[in-house]
């Protein structure tokens, strides 16, 4: 049994928890972060959507699209139960800039405009922040022809499908696209490798260069950018995209993927690396239930040891169903502190919905908003979870990320944006002066 004292304890080490810890650290707090394992961030596509532009049509010019901040404002006006509406989006710009700076090893700086990235399913992802490996594929910026390159033998990526998705934005001023197949440079064992295996294979000296040379051979001269499967290395320090681009003689980018995705894993690894360099103490283990800020919190480590962390401010960034921050076992519960869970975007709906049958918290149309999948904590404007009485449970208890309800974080295009905003607010709140 060992003991730690800190100013802020963060439970959860996905994007929201990491941003919260880094924001608290930047404000001068000593921070301990408890992380159980990879969560929704690791299983994301790796690009950071803030808010889809609900008021534009696919044919509207990409160059004239609303900024992510304006889209978030409009979304907040339309969905009163969404965290953007409850918290306001005033701090979003600062929060995004902070996150991008902290994670500059993998993230491209924001430029205030939305980015349009091709998705492996043939769709286009609209996002506010993207990884450096993805930036050259932003359809709003590409001037000239996009070559979508399939690797022969890699059935998971259909270049024709992705190219058709790109070409559908032609009317909106997007680039022309063509599908090309290139030979995998490093031997015939391609079918045996999953995307992460491919990514590691490209990190090996010579492999990225060989792929680049193959692209130089395979691509016509007029191509402006090569769009590749999302396998351009797991470790940013291996500089895979840069090496491929240098050998190919043109910029390369990777498409956005569905999980398990290399960009998601890369983003997750970058969080851990930055937490370490920023001086946040990360405990890889599981926080035990119960307690309130200021009390000792027991954390069980995988080896069986226990650490007791004492901190006057806690941030709950434990995610939703995937990470176990919210659990449904007959009824919806928040298992760590027993906080009330609401299962509706509607502010008036209240906590009693948590016990309702799954069938009544979902609707038949898959693509429609599903209250069950939007279940989570309700918070005040300072990101503090509310109790049954509608008041904050504790003045030094904060929440961040998907554990907060009111948005379907995995499927409405706002999940990681909410993670950054709430992480930033909670981290600053927890490190800042006491507000009652």
């Amino acid at each position: 049994m060992t003991a730690r004292a800190a100013d802020v304890l963060v439970v959860g080490g996905g994007l929201a928890g990491a941003v919260a810890a880094l924001a608290a650290r930047a404000a001068g707090a000593a921070v301990v972060l408890v992380r159980r394992g990879p969560g929704a961030t690791a299983y994301s596509g790796g690009a950071i959507g803030v808010a889809p532009d609900l008021d534009s049509l696919p044919s509207d010019p990409l160059s004239a699209r609303r900024s992510p901040l304006e889209s978030a404002r409009r979304l907040a006006a339309r969905r009163p139960g969404h965290p953007y509406a409850l918290l306001g989006v005033a701090a979003l710009e600062e929060a995004l800039a902070f996150a991008a700076a902290e994670l500059s090893a993998v993230l491209e700086p924001p430029d205030g405009r939305p980015r349009f990235l091709a998705h492996v399913s043939g769709g286009i992802s609209e996002c506010a922040l993207c990884q450096r490996t993805q930036a050259a594929g932003d359809l709003r910026r590409v001037r000239g022809l996009v070559a979508v390159v399939g690797l022969s033998g890699h059935l998971g990526f259909d270049a024709r499908l992705v190219a058709s998705g790109v070409a559908r934005r032609l009317a909106a001023g997007g680039p022309q696209a063509l599908a090309v197949e290139a030979a995998w440079p490093t031997g015939p064992a391609l079918a045996a490798l999953d995307p992460a295996g491919l990514a590691r294979a490209l990190e090996v000296p010579g492999a990225a260069e060989a792929l680049g040379s193959a692209l130089r051979e395979a691509l016509p001269r007029k191509v402006a950018v090569a769009l590749l499967p999302p396998v351009l290395g797991l470790d940013p320090a291996a500089r895979v995209p840069e090496r491929v681009a240098a050998a190919a003689g043109l910029p390369v980018a990777e498409a956005v993927s569905d999980p398990p995705s290399v960009p998601g894993l890369r983003l997750d690894a970058a969080l851990l690396a930055r937490l370490d360099s920023a001086g946040v103490e990360v405990l890889h283990g599981e926080a035990l239930p119960g307690g309130r800020p200021g009390q000792r919190k027991a954390v069980v480590l995988p080896g069986g040891g226990t650490v007791e962390v004492t901190a006057p401010a806690w941030i709950l960034a434990s995610g939703r169903f995937l990470a176990g921050g919210v659990v449904r076992c007959g009824a919806l519960v928040e298992p760590l502190l027993g906080l009330p869970v609401q299962a509706s975007e509607s502010g008036a709906a209240g906590v009693h919905l948590a016990g309702r049958p799954a069938a009544t918290l979902t609707v038949r149309e898959r693509r429609a908003p599903q209250p069950l999948l939007a279940a989570g904590l309700k918070v005040d404007a300072s990101c503090r979870p509310l109790g049954e009485d509608g008041l904050p449970v504790h003045y030094r208890l904060f929440a961040a990320g998907a554990v907060i309800g009111g948005h379907e974080h995995a499927a409405d295009g706002t999940g990681l944006g909410v993670g950054i905003l709430t992480g930033w607010l909670a981290g600053r709140g927890a490190a800042g002066p006491v507000r009652r």
Partner: protein, 524 residues
Amino acid sequence: MGYDVIILGGGVNGLGTARDCAQRGLSVLLLEKGDLAGGASGGGSALLHGGPRALREDPGAARRAREASAELLRAAPHLMARVPFLQPFGTTAEEAEGAALLAGAGATRLTAEALYRLEPGLRPGLRGALRLEEWVVDPWRLAVATALSARAEGAEVRTWTEAREVLREEGRVTGVRWLDALTGDTGVARAGVVLDATGAWSPGLAARSGATVRLRPSKGVHLVLEGRRCEHVVAGAAVDGRPVFACPRGGETWIGATATDSFGDPDDLEATHDEVAYLLDAVGALLPATRQARVTRATWALRATPRAAAAASEAPWAGHALLDHAAEGAAGLLSLVGGRLAWHRAQAEEATDRVLALLGRGPVTCRTREVPLPGGEAAPEPAALAARFGVPVAVAAQVVARHGATAQVVLGPCLEDPRLRLVVCREAGLLAAEVVHCARHELVRRLRDLRTRCRLAVGACGGLDCARVAAQLCARELGWGPAQLRHELADLLEVGWRERRAVLDGPQLAQEELLRGAHWGVGR
């Protein structure tokens, strides 16, 4: 285009009759409005004997079930699994009632000790059990194999093609007007005899054609639990005294079934929360560990039982009816309704005899009893297949379980194109090669058809890794453009969502979150 007979409905009744008619030399067109086995054939319990309840209702059932399972074992051994049926009893009254059944049914009596040795997970306090013979068949692959056999015998099988109306002239059936749901094409097919085997959809079709079919449709809901929670079919009683059972099927456990009258639109069904809770409570009381089990989906079907008043069955057993609508001014129109999956072959034989008589043909000997279904010949050893084609043994075993002797044909292209060794779904043991084979050779028109062909996106994962890759493979085989590919992918996900949304809980809810994130752009 003229046929001898047009058969409506791609369940086992329709497919079995199409196979038999074609085998006996008739020219056959079969129309199915959706995919194969989309109704009671694919959504039922798939138990061939049916336990004591079936025996009580029909004393001849035990003998016919023995014959039927022996026939199916010869025709398609790879689709059959023997799972003895245990009917535990907790009181002396139940024991006495069970003993009364012992005489004719070939049941054996198990002591409590023997019962708990076989099924240690049963609730404590049971005094013993009756043990009856039972077999479970893979109803999806059975329907597919029957359809492939019918086609090989010359029948034309068209899925996603609905018979809108049966056409008549001067009191005689002349054909049907059909609509292809995928292309929007319509047309008329001519035949002197039309056999309606559309199950719960029969009354609607009959009404549109000036005839009457009276059914008592019963909605049956089953839940699918992750893992094998028992090794026998174990039966118990629900809160209202009705029988419920748990049955291991592959790597899953099916629990069921509800039985409630349902006179609504057969296309507009879903499992309700009450039905889910009813089954989980009842089976939880029997096998307590199932209370912690992960429910991966709910399935439902309408079982079409002929209403007593209309049951003009001449068959020696109750349950199905072969109606002749000549008296209603539709000479040449037959309706085959109800019956049991177990003896669909015998029902089809009876219907084919009648079709031949209506056509004025002399009797032709039925051979469906002897001729194996496609894949029903001696199946290869999975280990040998795995070594020969360079695929994992577990995956080869799944291919054999679904395709039997045809497995080597399925895996053949792996030698030419090593990319087809890609394991699309580890859980279902699904190879890219199998997706390609099904798309090419097994009457696949939509992505969701692969659910019944090779269990695509049916398991607990809901299609997380496999759906998009399979869609890409299918698109390549069937010439779909990107827009159609996306449309089909969205459709497949839609079907899965409907089956899961009433049972989302625990880890399955977390899985749904992951799945929705993975496919959130699909269909927009």
